[in-house]
Amino acid sequence: MSADALDQAFRDASARITGALAARYRDLDLAEDAFAEACVRAAQVWPAEGAPADHAAWLYRAAQRCALDILRRRRTRERLQPEPPPLEPTAEDMMADDANLIPDERLRLIFVCCHPAVAADARAALTLRLICGLSVAEIARAFLVAEPTMAQRLVRAKRKIGDAGVPFEIPQPEFWPERLDAVLSTIEIAYAKAHEDAAGLGTHASYANDMLALTRVLAELLPREPDVLALAAMIRFAEARRPARLDEHGAMVPLSQQDPVRWRRPLIEEGERYLQRAANEGGDSSRVLHAAIHSVWCARRSLNDPAPWKTVLHLYDALLSVRDDSIVRLNRAVALAEVRGVAEALADVAAIDGDALVTFLPYHAVRADLLRRNGQMEAASSAYRVALALNPGPAERLWLERQAASLQH
């Protein structure tokens, strides 16, 4: 077995095994350590003796033994009196065939990782670590922080979960909307990291795939939650467009100018199926409407098809009625400019509370573009300067610089 194949097997098994162990022992560290030890054993045994038929079942049995070893070592270290012996594998476990061996506790694990009592900047990282099996180094790269910083953040988060008594349970109905929202926001934040990197090179390529996998798992576990399905759809639509997001110079290509021929159709179709299911469940939340806007764009087959601005504007109107905030208003203004003219869009943008968006790059980029098209070159030029000062990524920077330069002519 190659190192890559081993790594893949470990990653595939990670969430189920860590979840099952954590549910049993109510201890994330123990679950993680036991799984890591099991992987070390597998890396020694499998290449020499051949890999087992069911990788996950082998790893789970090994991880259970490792968990018991760790518990015994802890007891010895803490010199505790002989206690009720740690939970041995139950008769049920011994009897279970491989296919039914590992209880699926991933959903509980996701809710633990995304509990609002966990620091917001640690939730996404913890989810990627425990559900997607990403290494600390990979997560650190995705979040652009040093590895020791990320390791610290994860340790603190796990300690908080243990100390504060965060339950290892699916939330009660009274908490459900709030807690599910925390889970979905966490995934949105994590995905935004992958999406920022338009080129999707290196670490971000596989990271984006992890986000696809994570939303697939969540949709499997919660098949009737419109927001879950809508988020799975939205991430697919956004990922489908990745091959068309940069031009040959590496500059960003705005959505309406992307060549739909380069979009990944299979992902779009998958997204459509999720969105349809969300609609069938009666979803009309802001997440469902957001996914619908993506869907309308992705229905375009070539640059010769008219851009769907009118439908997009209708959807933004609907979105505004469920979620009236500055960012929705800003995005709506972009569509408004196409349908009803730049002047009207500018008036709308002027009415948005600019103070709240001072450091929000898209606000300045949209304003600059509208001012330019309205012939207000001086104002446009200063808006571009503000946008460029806000540290855009390389692709967006190139595009903004090009737009700003076009003002000179």
């Binding site: 009592a117 504060a164 008594g165 965060v166 339950p167 349970e169 939330p171 009660q172 908490f175």
Partner: protein, 117 residues
Amino acid sequence: MHYAFLIYEDEAFYGPNKSGPAMQEIVAKHMVFARELGARRIGGAGLKESSSATTLRRTQGKTTVHDGPFAEAKEQLGGFYIIDATDLDAAIALAKKIPVSQDGSIEIRPLLGGDVG
């Protein structure tokens, strides 16, 4: 597990010496809440206003006594509960029912060792 609920509110709302009508109103609500807690309530009390506080400070082995609370803030510690709950979610569900008159915060802290002597 045992948790402390530390209640922070702007005490000015309750009038001088916390003796205004708003105080009587909130005390009545706390009595209802305490009844609802029943056996889950291990302890707790309302606190006199923060100007009545005296702070003992120990710095490098030297102890000094100061007038006033440990930290000045817009919202002051005004009372606390010690409760028994199975986990954080159960504690949060209880804490959500704590009466507060205006804006305020409730800090939920597990007790060390999870137990009171």
